[in-house]
Amino acid sequence: MPDGIVLACLVGLPFVAAIVAGLLPTRARDTASMLAGAVALVCLGLVWSAYGTVSGGGVLRAELPWMPQLGLSIVLRMDGFAWLFAGLITGIGALVVLYARYYMSAEDPVPRFFSFLLAFMGAMTGLVLSGHLVQLALFWELTSFLSFLLIGYWHHTAAARDGARMALTITATGGLSLFAGVLVLGHIVGSYDLDVVLAAGDTIRDHPLYIVALILIVLGALTKSAQFPFHFWLPHAMAAPTPVSAYLHSATLVKAGVFLLARLWPVMAGTDAWAWTVGLAGLITMLIGAYIAIFQNDLKGLLAYSTISHLGLITLLLGLKSELALIAAIFHTMNHAAFKCSLFMAAGIIDHETGTRDIRRLSGLNGPMPFTARLALVAAAAMAGVPLLNGFISKEMFFAEALSATAPVHPLLNVLPLAAMLASAFSVVYSLRFIHGVFFGSPPTDLPRTPHEPATWMRFPVEILVLTCIMVGVLPAATVGPYLDIAARAVLGDATPYYSLAVWHGVNLPLLMSVVAMAAGVTIYLILQRRLREGMDGPPLIRHLDAQRLFERAMVTLSWRLARTLERIAGTRRLQPQLRLILIAAIVAGAGAAFVRGVGPGNLVPAPIDPVLALLWVVGAACALGAAWQAKFHRLAATILLGGVGLVVCVTFVWFSAPDLALTQLTVEIVTTVLLLLGLRWLPKRMQSSSAREPEVLGRTRRLRDLAIATAAGGCMAMLAYVVMTRTPPELLAQHFLARAYLEGGGTNVVNVILVDFRGFDTLGEIFVVGVVALTTFALLRRFRPAADSVELPEQQRDQLEADEARHARDDGRHVADWLLVPFTLTRLLFPVMLVAAAFLLLRGHDLPGGGFSAGMVVAIAIILQYIVGGTEWTEDRLSLLRPPAWIGTGLLLAAGTGVAAWAFGLPFMTSYFSYADLPVLGKVPMASALIFDIGVFVLVVGATLLMLIALAHQSVRGRRSTPRTLPQAKASPRVADAVGGGG
């Protein structure tokens, strides 16, 4: 099979299966576990199929370019080291799935469990197979996230929720640190590709940023592998179902940290900084973890701290400056996975069959569960490092390294063998406690359940793992030798030293150390046994060094106290101070930049001032100031003045050769004004009154301050605009667009060609925004309830109705209709003219000023005019086609469809096509696909504009119908509501 398929299946298959498992019915325990088991076995088979390649030192590699310009690709890469881990993940995964099938209760939503477990397997495989640093960081975070989901699987218990949150906080933060670290590393090397990075060891170690990258990456690894001082999340993660603890928190997830350290060992290790950070963390963790493990009363807690300690041992080995230590680390990683996973499973069986995990309550289980007892005994012996078991061999290697390694400072060398022996003695103590406390002693009494042997298949995974422990322990070179060799050579290459895997190396110092440690361990256990049985409240001496409490205090301070304080100091719920701050910051930033960089006079000579334009702008400025002046008490006047400014802007566009803009500005101006006028009705009356609720001085100070800000903002804008205008504009894309508009876009109106062709994708996004905005306004208005003081009919309407009332012969509303008769006739005559004008604007848009936007606005104006003069009922009776939401949908489909149609010709999205058709009568007509796109824009603009205007306008009709009325009402047509879908 090609490399690509093998690797892609290894990573992809678990994710696909995770989705499938997630979709299974809640009670489908057997189906889900069969699926998960099959996937794990298939993946294991795939890993095995790669053995031929990697055993010869080859590397499987598949690359899928994503953003090659940025050096971002998806690279899957499997060398011997990754192969070993992939085998570990899939192999143990298969065993854990089998175990979980029997462990999980039928009451639990088991498919969800397997879904998470499979996804985790995929993420973990992706992590070890990543050939790209960024991708590695991504999978890294994914494993943290899935671990969070799995720990929190029983989310109805507080312990699971807290444990999951703590694990995520620690490991995901470490993951971010790692991400930053690999970015620095990639920057140093100039590539994120793992092969390139692994070949650049000297560059990395000599780079000034080496120490930064080192600290960030090591932080990531230490948090993931639960190293001191981040170790405390692991014991809390024991709230997870036991299969999760066995899989994630002993065999795979926590090994990701040491995997990464070993992966980068050839290029980053060997410096004093590395030895200090990695080695010291490992040393402390190994000792503290082993010490605390002795005093745990919970079986899983004991195993968790023991895991921390063993991970510390591996980290310490990686921190030593020795290739042999690296090999020992890899070896111990495998051994630890085998015996710790089986111990977790045994603990799970005990919990499952007796109902408790408390060592103080358990005893004498050897009687009712003899098989489990023997299996656990062997596994615990492996953990303690008893000869003829796998733990012994890697421990011997560790002792040998502890004796011979070179360390940054000499005294550390004398400490190291002692520390190694001490940790080893402790591991004997807690292993003894596990076995002796649970399986020996008086027969069990007062347990929640009567203990008995578990189902045969539940024990099967434990048997396999324990068998592995024994075989590796007896015949290391024959069983695990070749695989370890593959992995070691993949990391170290030609630098792989000679090493010997054998049970017996003769009587030497490491063996002597083993014997001493064993004896010391047994002695300590005998001394402590009584007190441990009675139960001790935490480990002596360091009882108060509770990292968890520190963590919680830090979390409270950070996420609660600090946030509250900051909010109190800098927060406000009032809009004005916020806007004021933003504006001041913007002004200061802009003016500051200009001040620092300096602004000289421009190179262009300003054109002479045209008196007409100057006069025009005198009017414009007066309008703007007037609008600002009047917006509080005279809203109608302000709206009119705003329109005045808009018209001046519009004329300015014409003046400076931008007819398209002027056209759009003019039509938008009209619609905006109508919109504002419609809104006026719902705002409260505001009279100028002297009854100020606050001292006048305060208000005046505030206004003066705002006036200063406004003046500064306006002044800065004016200066900026002047400075920009008196310089030659930079040569950006203008030339490009001008040169190609006709030759490649087929249109002479360059602005339109840019909108519908060159930057058509932007326009597509824009019309989506317009459509969404229209639907949002509509949705907001559906539930619109006017304020109490706006419910009544406005004064003007009341007058009109009274006038109608006075003459009994007239229907309601005649008064207005009579007054508007002339405009009414005129607008009716104008309607077809406007539609033709719109069609004209639309069709010629590609070549002459016009286009979908302005044409759509013209149609909307034509219709809204009918509404204004003819009234809602009259208009909607005649325009039954008026279904704005349908127009919006059609427009979006047309525009997007034009873009998609390019795919049918094998071209990229939104590629346009054009030619000129010679039609009779009309002559040469441009037939660009962009025209269809523009029609889509047109249809959408019509629909969106109308929807907004009509929805707002209908509120007056609705308001009258839904409130108790004191006055005779105009008949409200039900069609009104139907047309825009509003409820009454």
Partner: protein, 114 residues
Amino acid sequence: MELVVSLGIGIVAGSGVWLLLRPRTFQVIIGLSLLSYAVNLFIFSTGGLRSGAAAVLARDEAGTLAQYADPLPQALVLTAIVIGFATTALLLVVLLAARGLTGTDHVDGRERDQ
């Protein structure tokens, strides 16, 4: 000419900013509209103010900046005008809904406490 337009931009922007800082929702909406005029004009002016430059290409011709007005800021502003209209409409409706819910047209949804 440049002076007139830039002064115009400044005055319109200043009026807009003043209104943005006012407490009533209608003032804010007028202020935002004024500010968007100013900003649109400013973006437009970055292409240089050219009166009498051709806006439409002749057939079969690759245009140059020497003859034609810069189309890029124009295209940007055209988009901005339409989006500005949409957001103004949205803001107006949100303000009306807030006014209906809270009974006041103060930007904070409640009158200033004193």
